[in-house]
């Protein structure tokens, strides 16, 4: 055993020497503006940003907290600030098709001016037109036109009256109409008087009345025709007056926007519409506030902004870049369908939902058009229809606003089809790796649209240079988050913990969010302790507190071992029983606990039974590990004969599943002990996987495993005999807790690196493993020799048994016969 030395304390922990740092506290350090440890991602983003071809959008993927969004945003903002401000976009009324508003593009800042110009135009039109209509000239002309029909009617009726009076008749107006009646002395003739007239006179009167009535009917029938004529003439007059009043104002605007064909065409349409609807500009008498017209009239009132007829001359300034610098960089935090594509809102009017172009609202795509957009892919995929809409916009290179309700024919209310707006955008999606690979596998258009992947790493090498950079990152974060400065011991401790977080003494974690959390918590504890600067004890306190907050379950496990509910021996020795180590992961926190692995053997046909597997509690990797054991056993000890044993392996007191192959070396030790009947030291625990040649291979979570066993031993009292066997290749991963390192330094605990099974069994049993001679025979006083001997014994017995059965069979039959 003496030939295998345990690891020295310095091998168990790779500290950072604070004195290596050139600074006292992080206050002395400059900011670190680059992105630490992400050369691949930085290169990818830079490339994706620079290449201005279709489909070169960026998909930044990696674990959370690796700074994906801040990197992309930082790069985008830097580039955008040097780019021109994109154009403004407006929606205006389409006078030909009400439901298809037109989109108008204007240079940045001109949109707001155009909107103001149109508002002013309407205001001016109102005064110009109403004063034109109030002018004496117009009034006179209109009155002439209107009076004409009255006069024609009056004249016609007067003529009738004239004719009537020639025949002693008069035209009388009744509440309902007009009647001819015979008169005498200005009064209607008494019927008696009428009767006194001669037969001839009566008949003449009657006949004349009949004729006059017919004439009257004809005259009255003409009245509506005259009225129509008058209306027509008034309309023409209105048009003439409006055109005259408006053309000056419009010419001014047309001149101002002469370089924009879309706007001049729009202004032409506006002028035509204004002339046709001049009455919209004349103030109307409103129903008074006392409700003279009733609530209905108030609802329909033109004074309500949504009812104002001049609403259609407004400009809906969808995207306004007035006063902006550079191209936009937009991060849409809630990328719903509508927040992305834009929407057409509705308003309730008399119980119905109505809309117009002024209710078109922009989405993130509009706002980012001509610039950069950043979206969280998980959120995009969670929102119904958003992914499809985003794809459609990118592929068609235009933004088409369409409501979901309309798309699915769920809503049949009046809606709009705004003219699509061309889309020119650089998009970055941010998300998890698995989403990237899932999309690239399942989404046929994915590679068309996202040709640049920026793969973010979570670890980087722990070189001296990188440690210095890391210190600067810490300094930058402390300033960004307004934390107390960290002294160099604290920085060193943070870097050490960063190594421990990735479980590798030669690597550092670049999940900056976790580091930021640690810094903030250390700052908190420094505040609690009244420290001006954060020192290593504050960092340690923060780490301890983090662990304490999450280690309830670990405590329960350890308690059940210490109370011997779960049996783990930490002293003495036993045959066929080894302490294995496993790791339990609980969210961010993981810890190791020992478990008892036992093996029993008997005569059999060479099978190794994995009891966990029999009850479906073994994962595939564990099952594979156990099968490797039979391979190793057979090839090493019974190459030329039958492996005549039957072995069973079990994780004692394990009530949930087991997976991973890190216990396969442990199982092999238990098996070798069971076969050779050599007891194994229970003061040791083992981890490591094994191959078919007996080499011990690296496993994960080595630090947690060692600490898990150490905690149990420490609670029971360290004897100096206790320790852990780890694969030699895991030594570089060691970043053990301080108390473990101290115990090792004091000789109270040991960590043995093991390269192969022979080394391990020798440490565990205290008996040499033994080397085979030329015939493959192992010396008898070695572990291997004992194993080989036992297997040979079993094989021999087996042979004997194989002969026996025939005799026994006969005997058995006789017995049966005897009984029967």
């Amino acid at each position: 055993m003496g030939s295998f030395e345990p690891l020295a304390p310095r091998q168990l922990y790779h500290p950072v020497d604070p004195t290596d740092f050139q600074f006292e506290t992080t206050e002395n350090l400059p900011d670190f503006f680059e992105i630490i440890g992400q050369p691949r991602a930085v290169e990818a983003v830079r490339f994706g940003m620079g290449i201005e071809k279709e489909g070169y959008n960026i998909f930044a993927h990696g674990p959370t907290g690796t700074g994906k969004r801040s990197l992309v945003r930082q790069f985008f903002e830097k580039k955008a600030s040097q780019e021109p401000v994109p154009d403004d976009w407006c929606y205006v009324h389409n006078f030909e098709h009400d439901y298809r508003p037109n989109a108008i593009r204007l240079p940045a800042g001109r949109g707001a001016i155009f909107k103001r110009d149109m508002e002013q135009l309407v205001e001016e039109l109102r005064t110009t037109i109403s004063s034109a209509f109030e002018s004496d000239e117009y009034r006179a002309r209109r009155q002439v036109a209107e009076e004409e029909v009255n006069q024609r009617q009056e004249k016609a009726l007067e003529e009738m009256q004239e004719q009537a009076s020639q025949h002693n008749l008069t035209l009388i107006r009744t509440p309902g109409g007009l009647v001819f009646a015979p008169v005498r002395d200005g009064e209607v003739m008494q019927p008696e008087e009428f009767q006194n007239l001669s037969q001839e006179e009566r008949e003449t009167l009657e006949k004349t009345v009949g004729e006059l009535q017919e004439q009257l009917q004809k005259v009255l029938q003409l009245v509506p025709v005259w009225q129509r004529e008058v209306r027509q003439r008034v309309r023409e007059l209105n048009r003439e007056i409006t055109n005259y009043a408006v053309s000056g104002l419009m010419a001014e605007l047309r001149q101002k926007y002469s370089e924009f064909d879309e706007i001049t065409a729009y202004l032409d349409a506006v002028q035509k519409d204004v002339v046709e609807n001049s009455s919209n500009f004349i103030p109307q008498e409103e129903p008074s506030a006392d409700g003279a017209g009733g609530p209905l009239a108030a609802l329909m009132s033109r004074a309500r902004p949504e009812q104002q007829p001049t609403r259609r001359y407004q400009v809906n300034l969808l995207v306004d870049h007035q006063g902006k610098q550079g191209a936009p960089v937009i991060y849409e935090d809630n990328p719903t369908y509508q927040n992305l594509i834009g929407r057409v809102e509705h308003m309730a009017q008399m119980g119905a939902l109505v809309t117009d172009f002024t209710l078109i609202k922009p989405g993130a795509l509009h706002l980012a058009n001509g610039g950069y957009l950043i979206l969280d892919v998980r959120k995009v995929l969670q929102q119904p229809y958003t992914w499809e809409a985003l794809k459609r916009a990118l592929l068609s290179r235009q933004i088409t606003i369409e409501s979901i309700g309309q798309m699915l024919s769920l809503i049949t209310t009046i809606s709009l089809e705004p003219e699509p707006i061309p889309l020119d955008i650089k998009l970055a999606l941010i998300g998890d790796r698995w989403l990237y690979y899932l999309l690239s596998q399942l989404e046929p258009d994915f590679h068309e649209l996202f040709k640049v992947q920026a793969d973010f790493d979570e670890i980087m090498s722990r070189t001296d240079d990188n440690q210095d950079s890391y210190a600067r990152v810490i300094a930058t974060i402390t300033r960004q988050e307004q934390l107390r400065p960290f002294d160099r011991s604290a920085v060193a401790r943070v870097i050490e913990h960063s190594s421990r977080m990735v479980g590798d003494a030669e690597k550092l974690s670049i999940q900056i969010s976790n580091i930021t959390d640690l810094l903030q918590e250390a700052d908190y504890w420094a505040g609690q302790n009244g420290n001006g600067a954060v020192d290593s004890s504050d960092v340690q306190k923060a780490i301890d507190a983090q662990i304490y907050r999450s280690d309830r379950l670990r405590e329960r496990f350890q308690e059940s071992i210490l109370r011997e509910t779960v049996r783990i021996n930490t002293q003495g020795s036993a045959v066929g029983q080894v302490n294995g180590l496993s790791v339990i992961q609980l969210g961010d926190f993981s810890f190791g606990i020992p478990s008892r692995i036992s093996a029993r053997v008997r005569l059999g046909k060479g099978e190794v039974i994995n009891i966990e597997r029999e009850v479906d509690m073994s994962g595939p990797i564990h099952s594979k590990g156990v099968l490797i054991l039979s391979g190793f056993l057979g090839a090493r000890y019974a190459a030329d004969e039958n492996l005549s044993l039957s072995a069973s392996l079990v994780f004692e007191q394990s009530y949930s599943g087991v997976d991973g192959d890190s216990a396969s070396s442990t199982e092999l030790y238990a098996l070798l002990s069971a076969i050779s009947k050599i007891p194994i030291r229970q003061s040791l625990a083992v981890t490591g996987s094994v191959d078919q040649h007996g080499n011990v291979q690296a496993i994960g979570g080595v630090n947690e495993k060692i600490e898990g066993f150490f905690d149990i031993c420490k609670a029971r009292g360290l004897t100096g005999e206790q320790g852990v066997l780890i694969p030699e290749s895991n030594v570089k991963n060691l970043m053990l807790r301080r108390d473990v390192v101290e115990a090792v330094a004091e000789g109270k605990f040991q960590v043995f690196p093991v390269a192969n099974i022979d080394q391990g069994i020798e440490i565990l049993t205290g008996i040499p493993a033994g080397e085979p001679d030329e015939e493959g025979k192992y010396p008898a006083d070695t572990v291997n020799g004992r194993v080989q001997e036992r297997l040979a014994e079993l094989a021999k017995k087996r042979e004997e048994l194989d002969k026996k059965p025939k005799d026994e069979e006969k005997e058995g039959k006789q017995e049966e016969e005897g009984e029967s």
Partner: protein
């Protein structure tokens, strides 16, 4: 009621009603005036004897004003018509006076409208009536024409609804009746009414004198009044002026040395504002 108002001595107001929109406007104005002067309101509905008579002719037909189709007339139906109108008027009157605590009466008489109205006018201090009744024309109707000439009392002729505070135009010629005109203008004057006065004077000096007379008589009401001088009353010119300035109520003598009934009628045919004829 101010002292100046009480001096007008309006105790009974008669309103001629035929259920036409114009007469309803007259009723409304009459109610307001009655309330203001604490006067008694008398509504008179005249069943036109001519209508009843002509309904008895077998050959007369009523030609509908809108559809121009002829309709057979008979007297029971005509009576029914008139009664319905009378009831409507009475109901409207009851509704309008309901909350004012006014003393009011309503009666129906049968006869030739103008004759009956002239007779009824004797018992009132002020008569209100619509301009042209059912014909709705701009020209003065026959009944109103008779009242303008023959009414023993002052007459307020309305074509549409009036509201307090409408601009008032007064014609003043310095005669005895002129003073009455100024006093009567208080009937239609209200706080905020813009007042403009047309002075009919032979010389500027006379106009100046008239102006100070008006100012003295009207006092506060004439404070911001606008004065114009004309040597005589030219109906078409005045009508144009009133139309362009916008006139609410015109107050003028029914007849005086310079203003004949003819001129008044001619003027009224050309304007749309209410006219208060003072005598």
């Amino acid at each position: 009621m101010s002292a100046a108002e009480s001096s007008l001595d309006i105790r009974r107001i008669l309103v001629a009603l035929d259920a036409s929109p114009q007469s309803m406007a007259a009723l409304q104005a009459a109610t307001q005036l009655a309330a203001r002067f604490e006067a008694e309101l008398i509504g008179v509905f005249v069943e036109d004897i001519n209508l009843i008579r002509l309904a008895n002719y077998p050959f007369t037909r009523e030609v509908d004003r809108y559809s121009s189709s002829p309709r057979r007339l008979d007297s029971p139906q005509m009576e029914l018509h008139l009664r319905a109108h009378a009831r409507r008027v009475q109901q409207a009157m009851a509704a309008m006076t309901k909350d004012s605590g006014l003393r009011w009466s309503f009666r129906i008489v049968r006869g030739v409208i103008s004759v009956e109205l002239v007779a009824a006018a004797l018992e009132a201090d002020l008569i209100l009536l619509g301009k042209s009744g059912w014909s709705g024309r701009k020209r003065v109707g026959s009944t109103t024409r008779t009242m303008i000439v023959q009414s023993p009392r002052q007459v307020l002729v309305l074509q549409r609804r009036v509201r307090p505070g409408m601009p008032i135009t007064i014609i003043y010629d310095g005669s005895e009746i002129g003073l009455k005109v100024l006093q009567a203008s208080r009937l239609v004057w209200a706080e905020g009414s813009a007042v403009s006065v047309l002075l009919l004077a032979e010389s500027p000096e006379e106009a100046q004198r008239f102006q100070s007379e008006v100012k003295e008589e009207l006092g506060e009401a004439a404070k911001e009044a606008q004065f114009r001088w004309r040597p005589n009353l030219d109906a078409p010119r005045l009508a144009r002026l009133l139309r362009s300035e916008g006139c609410g109520v015109l107050v003028l003598p029914a007849e005086s040395d310079q203003i004949s009934g003819e001129i008044v009628l001619n003027l009224m045919n050309q304007i749309e504002c209410a006219v208060l004829l003072v005598r």
